[in-house]
Amino acid sequence: MLIGIATITFLLVNAMPGDPVRIMLGPGTDQATIDAVQSRYGLDQPLYERYFNYMAGVAQGDLGNSIHYNGVPVTEKILERLPVTLLLVASSFTLAISMAVPLGAIAARRQNKATDHVSRIIALIGVSTPSFWIGLMLIIVFAYQLNVFPSSGLIMPWAHPSDVPQAANRIEVLGSSLYHLVLPTITLGTLQTAAIMRIQRSSMLEVLNRDYITLAQAYGVSSRTVLRKHALRNAQLPVVTIIGIQLTTALGGAVLTETVFSINGMGTLIITAVESQDYPLIMGVTLFFGVIFVVGVLITDLLYAYLDPRITYGGGDH
């Protein structure tokens, strides 16, 4: 799978028009300098040779050197930005799951009552709204009108206090980090919340109509236990699958969210890379996005296997 991603990105990137070296060095550079730089980045070799070199490098964890960032190894640049994006995605999924699972379950329990209608309308709006627009609206309301949350930047919770303005110790760094996370998390998490809520509701409704739920009630199990124990675990199975699939949407959304809030993560990194036609960097970042997705799907597969005893192997295609 990862070989496939690497191949696709390699081919795509090499189809790009323009010459990054010329862009980097600017117009008017003499041919000798250009040739020298090209050979330094291996750009003078034929395509298939570059492909095999690149794949060999990938296998050893070497993604080449960034052209835009003056030869800094791509891996180093990515590892610097990766935690930011992971933090953002993780916090938005935490928000989404903690909101969507109970809300979806309650909506299903009160099917066609007011609670259900309201939550369905909210979920519908949630899946229909562009995340970056939510970000813009949040900035207008909370950063500008009310001035309660910052409109840009992100601080890592493990940052050193001396690097964080107005933070004297680790607690304040953590506080500042959370404070900066609020708006981006809502921005990125809304779509996930709405999507998971819709699946949670329909899946819960389906499970609540199953005979084993009626049977549990017929044997005197209280409705609360029926809901929490008998129904919820079964209802989570399609939800887990959706969470895995939502990951790819969320990673794409992270690019937009990072742009809106000027956060230096993987998303803004790939935009920079594309703008400057930094081949190795584009390939590396795309590959890493693929890796994150694959790892995420693997985790949801394991979770699925844990929840559903019918799956005996730890993964596979669903």
Binding site: L12, R109, P130, S202, G252, I282
Partner: protein, 328 residues
């Protein structure tokens, strides 16, 4: 009395199956007419249908005007959506006032940073959203159906190769892949359409493949094979039509998703290039001016929201109509 959760839904009870089935006038209908009748009865799906109808008409008119008539209609009866206007820039909507002046009815939603009427730009932006949303989804459906059908029907190594490829494309986040495609082949509208189409392919390839796997073992397919009907014929005549319902539902919802992707692309500067108006790009423009002028950002977002919601409402309605089990 605490009401226990839904227990009345049993397969063999007519009272409990989907509401529409109880009505004999509807039950007599079959296939398409049944679905249509169901949609007409579903208030929310009808709302979705109305939204889509209005937006589509606007998209067609603006397409004709922009592509064939060189904005003749807009320029004659309204404002030119692309040319910089001489009027005041950043004029607020009707009823509001800012440092540039008070809103007037001649620019009901105000003007942008170059003095262009915001309403006309939003209206003409519809075309891009619908064009990319519909065409890209159509592309994804066609290519996805072929890949999925071939993959599911033949199985074996063909299936393996196609599935690996599809999964690989699927593993790269949609937006990243389209950005990569567009930076490789250029920032043109058609590249955007093809790019969004490509990221849509895996969704339909997987859907069709699983439907084909379900249908493949059915007896009538076995029978068709046994009497020597050609594979291509079986695929085209029996298997694909049977997979149609889920594709229709997913396709309608996917148009909405693709409109969101296009808006995101334009917002990042990878969509259709200025000065052609598109919703995402108007939002990108508004970023620099929205803080004293929030309305600049609000209206294009509402246009996206309403349009995408239309497709979601219709898609949900179709799902309910085509699959009575899923009573929403």
């Amino acid at each position: 009395m605490a009401t226990p959760p839904e227990t009345a839904e049993m397969g063999d009870q007519p009272v409990s199956s989907s509401a529409g089935e109880a009505d004999e006038s509807i039950r007599d209908l079959t296939g398409w007419r049944y679905t249509l009748a169901q949609i007409k009865r579903d208030r929310t799906a009808r709302l979705g249908w109305y939204i889509i109808s209005v937006v589509s008409v606007v998209a067609i008119v603006t397409y004709v005007d922009s592509q064939l008539l060189n904005y003749y209609i807009a320029d004659t009866f309204w404002y030119h959506p692309e040319r910089d206007a001489e009027g005041t820039a950043l004029l607020p909507p009707v009823g509001l006032e800012n440092s540039y002046g008070a809103g007037t009815w001649s620019h009901p939603l105000g003007t942008d940073q170059r003095g262009r009427d915001l309403l006309v730009r939003i209206v003409y932006g519809t075309r891009i959203a619908i064009q990319v949303g519909v065409v890209a989804t159509g592309l994804g459906v066609i290519v996805g159906t072929i890949i999925g059908a071939v993959s599911g029907y033949y199985g074996g190594w063909i299936d393996d190769i196609l599935q690996r490829t599809v999964e690989t494309v699927y593993a790269i986040p949609f937006l990243i892949l389209v950005i990569a495609i567009m930076s490789a082949f250029g920032r043109h509208l058609w590249i955007a359409i093809v790019g969004v189409g490509i990221v849509t392919v895996p969704i339909f390839a997987r859907l069709i493949r699983s439907e084909v796997l379900k249908v493949r073992e059915e007896e009538y397919i076995e029978a068709a094979k046994a009497i020597g009907v050609k594979d291509r014929h079986i695929l085209a005549r029996h298997i694909i039509p049977n997979s149609f319902a889920p594709v229709l539902v997913q396709g309608t919802l996917q148009i909405g998703v693709n409109i969101l992707i296009v808006a995101g692309l334009s917002f990042l500067g990878f969509g259709v290039q200025p000065p052609t108006p598109s919703w995402g790009q108007i939002l990108a423009d508004s970023r620099g001016y929205m803080l004293p002028n929030p309305w600049f950002s609000i209206f294009p977002g509402i246009a996206i929201l309403v349009t995408v919601m239309g497709f979601n409402l219709l898609g949900d309605g179709l799902r309910d109509a085509l699959d009575p089990r899923n009573n929403g």
